[in-house]
């Protein structure tokens, strides 16, 4: 250490070095944070794609990145948008929630994306939400979620709880004569809220408290032996029992394998899942799961012209005849087409103009109808209930007669039962209390 004893001149030298280093660092940070150097949308409109390509959520989100790239490519083949080419900007938030916020900021302020399509988990959406609101940009969120949110800057193209859970329970009650319910979920906010809503709903339908069992497990839970056994036991009380599963992603495979092995057949105790789609089933041997259910707004097996074309394009784009499609992909399909229409209607990609133009936009969905963007920034959807087939596909066994409008604020939660969201002028409020006539949150002029 004695060699390095500082002297005045050295200090001066050091300072000089500091100044130089500072400038260099600023330059480096600036250069590095703008990989494409953001040449202010010369001939292109940039579209942010914010899906995890690594980490725990890559398993679900990678597909959505691919589908966005496909949609952008197709739109460009049709001549782009407003006479400009679209360019997808892919980043990897790596299943890391603070990184989502950072990447969102990068997409908006560095890459100048006109809109961003992304997020899967609620926490990732919650993480980026303040960023989108602060920088007044647009996010399309494609996954079914717990509701209780209505941001001006987010368009929710996935299902709200009433667009998935309630019709599924209704189906089981009427068609399956189910009297006893197990609400099993991963311990996070979506299952908690959904189960809270379902519990209130079931009780309103006369189901006794002792006929409802609620169980939460951690993320990635892999040993389901005694939970499945306790479900079996709960189901042996002489009343028809069903499981409503809000078990998340990774934990599903071991859960279903255990169900199959303990011999719980759909005809004994059906399981209806809200987070299990074709993508998840691709990783499971579905033969023992025949007849277990899922509720979504889209199934790959839906027999329509649009869907067939979409699947064909998808397989061609991924060059993989085995790739499946699923509900969140359809949500991006709808969301992207809505955004294209909204931008065309507004004649600009300016956020405010597009946000106003989006409401009322209606585009074909893949199940043979039209979905429309409602004033609460959620879309109308049909609800399909399907049974798992031996080939890993769903067989639709029930479909709501019309489109269901999303309830962004749950009528079953005390604090939100009087709230509505309406982003049209003049109300422009994400949480308007119809009783008090005030806007409690999310007001933006």
């Amino acid at each position: 250490m004695s060699l390095d004893e500082p002297t005045i001149s050295r200090r001066g030298l050091g300072r000089l070095g500091v100044a130089a280093a500072t400038l260099a660092a600023v330059g480096a940070v600036k250069a590095a944070t703008s990989p494409a150097a953001a040449q202010a949308a010369g001939g292109t409109i940039k579209v942010g794609i914010l899906h995890s390509l690594s980490g725990t959520m890559a398993i679900s989100e990678t597909t959505l990145k691919d589908v966005m790239l496909m949609l952008i490519e197709e739109q460009n083949k049709k001549g782009g948008l407003l006479g400009k080419k679209l360019e997808g900007v892919v980043v990897d938030p790596a299943s890391n929630w603070p990184l989502f916020a950072e990447k969102a900021r990068q997409l908006i302020s560095v890459d100048k994306c006109a809109a961003t399509f992304g997020c899967w988990t609620s926490v990732s959406r919650k993480s980026v939400l303040p960023v989108f609101e602060e920088l007044n940009s647009i996010l399309f969120y494609p996954v079914q979620y717990e509701g209780q949110e209505c941001s001006r800057n987010v368009f929710y193209t996935g299902a709200a709880p009433n667009q998935q859970a309630i019709p599924a329970v209704d189906y089981l009650m009427s068609e399956g004569k189910v009297k006893r319910w197990v609400l099993a979920g991963t311990d996070y906010v979506y299952p908690r809220t959904t189960n809270q809503i379902l519990e209130a709903y079931l009780k309103s339908k006369g189901v006794a408290a002792e006929d409802i069992m609620i169980n939460y497990t951690p993320f990635g839970h892999s040993d389901w032996q005694n939970i499945v056994a306790s479900i079996k036991k709960f189901g042996s009380a002489g009343k028809k029992t069903a499981v409503v599963s809000t078990i998340n992603g990774d934990a599903n495979v071991p859960f279903y394998k255990e169900l199959g092995n303990q011999g719980i057949k759909a005809t004994d105790i059906p399981v209806v899942a809200f987070s299990v789609g074709e993508e998840e089933l691709a990783g499971i041997d579905t033969k023992p799961l025949l007849g277990h259910l899922a509720a979504w707004n889209y199934f790959e097996s839906v027999d329509t012209k649009e869907n067939k074309a979409f699947i064909k394009d998808w397989k061609a784009f991924t060059k993989n005849p085995k790739r499946t499609t699923n509900d969140p992909m359809e949500a991006h399909y709808i969301g992207f087409n809505m955004w294209v229409k909204g931008v065309e209607k507004a004649g600009t990609t300016d956020s405010d103009a597009v946000i106003d133009a989006m409401i009322g936009v209606s585009v074909p969905n893949l199940s043979g109808g039209y979905s429309a963007m409602m004033p609460n920034h959620h879309i109308t959807k049909p609800v399909l209930i399907g049974e798992i087939q031996a080939n890993g596909q769903f067989n639709t066994v029930s479909e709501t007669p019309g489109l269901v409008v999303a309830q962004e604020w749950s009528p079953y939660v005390e604090d939100t039962k009087d709230l509505i969201g309406d982003w049209r002028a003049p109300m422009r409020c994400g949480a308007f209390n119809v009783k008090t006539g005030t806007c409690t949150a999310g007001k933006k002029a």
């Binding site: 280093a21 940070v29 990897d92 603070p98 906010v189 809220t193």
Partner: protein, 372 residues
């Protein structure tokens, strides 16, 4: 305390960059070529907080030989203390406008504020908790572990168990810390809007100042007779006992100090990234922090800061520029550094000095002497 040139350079660099970024952000117009976007401020602030964590890890690993695979837990606890304060500051501006409860509690049907949330309305109390809670946890854990002479990999593994247990605990919605979603959508800190550029600039400069403060403190500790003893403990713990020292109390002191430093880093991290949730407890995060230190150069405080900034800068860059293959780059970097730069980046600059760790750390020597 005498500082060497590289320390001056580091302090100058950290403070200088933070000040220049903040000033450029504040003083120049939005379109100007010199303007620093908020994005860069947020990034720089995050790096500096990570640097604090790295400094904390280096203090225990580089100087006391305690390889903590759970240091991110202290960081996250500090972050939660700040997060709770920020949640309370939202007041009635939450989605539900509930004056008594944070949004997520309303959402899950809580009726009243749990007792452990009391006091977090006050900034001072929250900041006190940001250092007391990690410090206390470290004290209890360290007292138990060091007293019974748990060392080497055994200690590493139980620190990992600690952070893993906390991860699972904070995931539980019943804990009242927001479960998986954690806390987000913050509004104000001490009355300033957390999203305002001026607040961000201020937070960045404060982070830089605190990092420098921590660096000087760590420097003071390491240069003292205490620090020399730590190095002695690191290399030949049992020998120090025969000199009449109690290595466990030395380790405990530096361990608690380190936890507190990490907690401060976490507390500053939260307002700058805007979210705190249980994934901060993930064991991978702690391992990453160790890697920053290894990349920078274990046992050199400057190296810890440098490593944290370098690796995270790389991560920012790679995830944007090479989203599909960045993990290859990151993984390869770790392998490269351990294989070819055992003394980290600092090893490139410095000749051997007395502060460097011995490559033959004896930690798991025991595991070699074993039969099947």
């Amino acid at each position: 305390m005498k500082l060497d040139r590289i320390s001056y350079l580091t302090l100058g660099f950290v403070l200088g960059v933070a000040l220049v970024l903040a000033l450029l952000n504040q003083m120049t117009a939005l379109g100007s070529a010199l303007h620093v976007p908020t994005y860069v401020l947020a990034l720089a602030g995050k790096y500096l907080c990570f640097a604090m964590l790295a400094l904390a890890v280096d203090l225990v690993w580089g100087f006391a030989g305690i390889l903590s695979l759970g240091h991110a837990a202290f960081f996250a606890l500090g972050g939660y203390a700040m997060g709770m304060y920020l949640m309370r500051q939202i007041g009635t501006r939450g989605v539900y406008g509930n004056p008594n409860l944070p949004d997520f509690m309303v959402f899950l049907g809580w009726k009243e504020l749990p007792w452990y949330w009391y006091g977090f309305d006050w900034f001072g109390f929250a900041m006190l908790m940001a250092v007391v809670v990690p410090g206390l946890l470290a004290a209890v854990f360290g007292w138990l572990a060091f007293r019974s002479r748990v060392t080497g990999v055994y200690l590493s593994i139980i620190t990992q168990a600690l952070t893993y247990a906390l991860l699972l605990a904070f995931f539980r919605n019943d804990m009242g810390f927001g479960g998986n979603n954690g806390m987000t959508d913050f509004k104000d800190i001490l009355g300033f809007n957390v999203q305002a550029d001026s607040t961000r600039s201020a937070l960045l400069v404060i982070s830089a100042l605190l990092l420098c403060g921590q660096f000087l403190l760590a420097r003071f500790v390491v240069a003292s007779r205490f620090g020399k003893m730590l190095i002695a403990v690191r290399d030949t713990e049992s020998r120090t006992r025969f000199l009449g020292y109690r290595p466990e109390s030395y380790k405990l002191v530096v361990w608690v100090l380190s936890a507190v430093m990490a907690g401060i880093g976490g507390a500053l991290y939260v307002p700058q990234v805007g979210i705190i949730n249980p994934s901060e407890f993930a064991p991978g995060n702690s391992i990453e922090a160790v890697i920053w230190v290894a990349v920078g150069g274990r046992g050199t405080l400057v190296g810890a800061i440098l490593g944290a900034i370098l690796v995270n800068f790389g991560k920012t860059w790679f995830t944007g520029a090479l989203p599909e293959v960045w993990l290859y780059a990151l993984g390869a970097m770790f392998i490269f550094v351990t294989l070819f730069l055992p003394r980290g980046v600092m090893g490139l600059f410095r000749a051997r000095t007395s502060k460097e760790p011995e490559p033959e750390a004896p930690e798991v020597a025991a595991a070699h002497e074993v039969t099947g």
